[in-house]
């Protein structure tokens, strides 16, 4: 009896595991026709990709609440992924970039996407260990002082533009403000 029960219990878990593969198949068919940038954006959106939510009990709870209220918010990681990826195809490898509006997703993703170009949020040495001290450590530079950034070796500045970001090229051939 106990043997059959053990076998049944393990067997049920195994079958349940196979059923849990269905979302992979569904996401695969969703991603397949999309462009590279669209795939990355969708796959990093916590509301759209079950993989972002894996292991995140609190995130699931908050998303469920949001869904009940019908308030769909844009996903900062998804937006930052797509924007960072697309800009990485354009930025020169020797660029030195200043992030003038410190958002964690843009800083962390931008640092990765734009390597070997360097991304800073402060021209002085500063400690950034996460979201909490990113805002404290960052220094916002007024547009009138962008020439100072150029003198310090920065070739591009990331600024906020409406709901997204834009990159200002500080080089003489670029879009000098």
């Amino acid at each position: 009896m106990l043997r059959s029960a053990t076998f049944l219990a393990i067997g049920l878990l195994v079958v349940w595991g196979l059923v849990a593969l269905v979302p992979y198949a569904a996401m695969y068919s969703t991603l397949r026709p999309l462009s590279r940038a669209e795939r990355g954006e969708l796959a990093s959106d916590e509301a759209q990709s079950f993989l972002v939510r894996a292991g995140r009990v609190d995130l699931r709870r908050r998303l469920a609440l949001r869904s009940q209220r019908g308030t769909a918010l844009p996903s900062p990681p998804a937006n930052a992924w797509r924007w960072g990826y697309e800009e990485s195809l354009r930025l020169p490898a020797d660029a030195k970039i200043y992030l003038n509006d410190p958002r964690a997703a843009v800083y962390f993703y931008g640092t990765f996407f734009w390597l070997p170009a360097r991304l800073d949020v402060n021209p002085e040495p500063v400690t950034i260990t996460g979201h909490a001290n990113l805002k404290r450590g960052a220094r916002r530079v007024p547009e009138s002082d962008f020439a100072e950034l150029e003198r310090r070796g920065y070739s591009h500045v990331v600024t906020r533009a409406h709901e997204s970001f834009e990159i200002v090229d500080l080089s003489p051939a670029g879009e000098v403000p």
Binding site: T6, L13, G17
Partner: protein, 472 residues
């Protein structure tokens, strides 16, 4: 072309591991071919990443010649010293069939088909999706991409506090493995690097099955391998290329191989354990907790035995080898400023006592993660029920060693949650489920061994529970 290059890099990585395995396991016919193939992947990760580390330390960025030298050196040694053993890679493993009724053979076929389905489905998806996971991009892939352009010898990264969020002191085995695939791909392509996902999935399945089948019959080994590979949390984190399942894979190899050495005196398993425990130390800082537990538990078993020869062998392979191979990394790490969290510095009895009030919150929080069926099905309650029901089968004897290896690291993590400077609820949200992955394969291995020892499956009466062979 990018993906072909990535596949060639993966093949070179596996070839390094296969050559090393041929050298260190003089009786590979005792390990099934599946286990050899799966374990070779882990040894390849270790060899390639450490060669790239050495080259980077000397001022070279990752390049194809580093892996080519590894393949040539290890392949040449295997050819020169173990030529007779190379043919074992083509020979089928010893018969593992479970004696029993016909339906058992159908069960085996069904389980095998299920495993193929899991690996194929998750791989297909993972290869369609680029690298997107927050932690992977911000930590592991950032290190991997940076080291492609700047060698350890000259980079300012390890002192750059503005990149402290990427955890400057996290080990480099996984990042350098990513770098190697990118070398093969010709560029840091976000899709090509994901060829590591099918390889990791297959290595998990093959290694776990192979190690378990050293003592268990084929049906039991397949059943528990299917259970492990069906757990959504494990699959999701492998698909996303997190470092936690990589650590879990090395912990599985180190723990299971040490156990096989202790119970069956398998010297090939001891050598394997030594190399896998080195992988544990070089994958994530949490590996230090597992290593400490492994050393203490192994020493306790050996003390009881009093065999001087086994002490010496254990000290060499589990002590000296991992220390020697990982020491360059720990020398580098000693000079890296700790800016994120310094848990060693907070291991103070006073801090622990001051934070004791957190324990109920931590237990309730952990419970919510363990019981979330979307991540774990009902694995953890089932494991707890099994351990309670079959307590007399593991509380004394060799299975207690496996229990300690699987559970003690989680207890250490529990202490970390008590002393952490962060709010425990925040830390749990980002790390609880991923930390559980570190010993997950060992938990399933323990469950399988308890079930086998207590003969809790219908066919186990027909099988000798020590060797996995028919008692008839």
């Amino acid at each position: 072309m990018t993906r072909v290059g990535a596949l060639l890099a993966l093949l070179a990585l596996w070839a390094c591991g296969a050559a090393l395995l041929t050298l260190i396991a003089p009786a590979p016919d005792r390990l099934p071919r599946s286990a050899r193939a799966g374990l070779a992947f882990g040894l390849g990760l270790l060899v390639i990443s450490q060669s790239l580390f050495a080259a980077s330390w000397l001022g070279a960025t990752p390049a194809w010649w580093v892996g080519a030298l590894d393949v040539a050196a290890l392949g040449g040694l295997a050819l020169a010293l173990r030529r007779d053993r190379l043919a074992d890679w083509l020979r089928p493993a010893r018969a593992q069939a479970t004696p029993g009724p016909g339906w058992l053979r159908w069960l085996d076929r069904g389980l095998l088909a299920g495993l193929v389905l899991v690996v194929a489905t998750v791989s297909l998806y993972a290869l369609t999706e680029p690298l997107v996971e927050w932690d992977v991009l911000a930590i592991w892939a950032t290190k991997a991409k940076l080291l492609l352009f700047e060698p350890i010898a000259t980079t300012g990264y390890f002192q750059d506090l503005s990149k402290g969020y990427s955890h400057l002191d996290y080990p480099l085995l996984w990042p350098l493995s990513l770098s190697w695939i990118w070398v093969g791909a010709g560029s840091p392509d976000l899709w090509a690097v994901k060829v590591l996902v099918p390889a990791m999935l297959a290595a998990y399945a093959a290694s776990f099955y192979g190690l378990l089948s050293q003592r268990a019959d084929r049906s039991t080994s397949l059943l528990f391998t299917s259970l492990l590979l069906g757990l959504p949390m494990l699959l999701s984190q492998i698909a996303r290329m997190q470092a936690d399942p990589v650590l879990g894979y090395f912990v599985m190899g180190a723990g299971a191989a040490t156990w096989l050495w202790l119970v069956d005196d398998r010297r090939d398993c001891l050598r394997l354990a030594g190399l896998f425990v080195t992988g544990v130390l070089l994958t994530k800082n949490e590996g230090l907790a597992f290593y400490a537990v492994l050393l203490v538990a192994t020493a306790a078993v050996l003390l009881r035995e009093g065999s001087r020869q086994r002490w010496q062998a254990g000290a060499l392979w589990l002590g000296a080898l991992p220390a020697a191979v990982s020491s360059p990394w720990f020398v580098l790490r000693a000079g890296i400023p700790r800016v994120s969290e310094n848990y060693t510095g907070r291991l103070d009895p006073q801090i622990f006592l001051e934070n004791l009030h957190r324990i109920p919150e931590i237990l309730a929080g952990v419970g919510a993660y363990l019981l979330d069926s979307r991540d774990w099905l009902l694995f953890w309650p089932a494991l707890a029920a099994l351990l309670v029901l079959a307590v007399r089968h593991w509380i004394r004897g060799p299975l207690l060693f496996l229990f300690v290896l699987a559970e003690a690291p989680l207890l250490i993590y529990g202490v970390i949650f008590v002393i952490t400077p962060w709010r425990p609820a925040d830390l749990l949200e980002f790390s609880a489920s991923r930390l559980l992955l570190h010993t997950l394969p060992l938990q399933v291995f323990l469950a399988a061994e308890v079930v086998r020892s207590a003969r809790l499956l219908p066919w186990l009466d027909r099988v000798d529970t020590r060797s996995g062979q028919s008692s008839a």
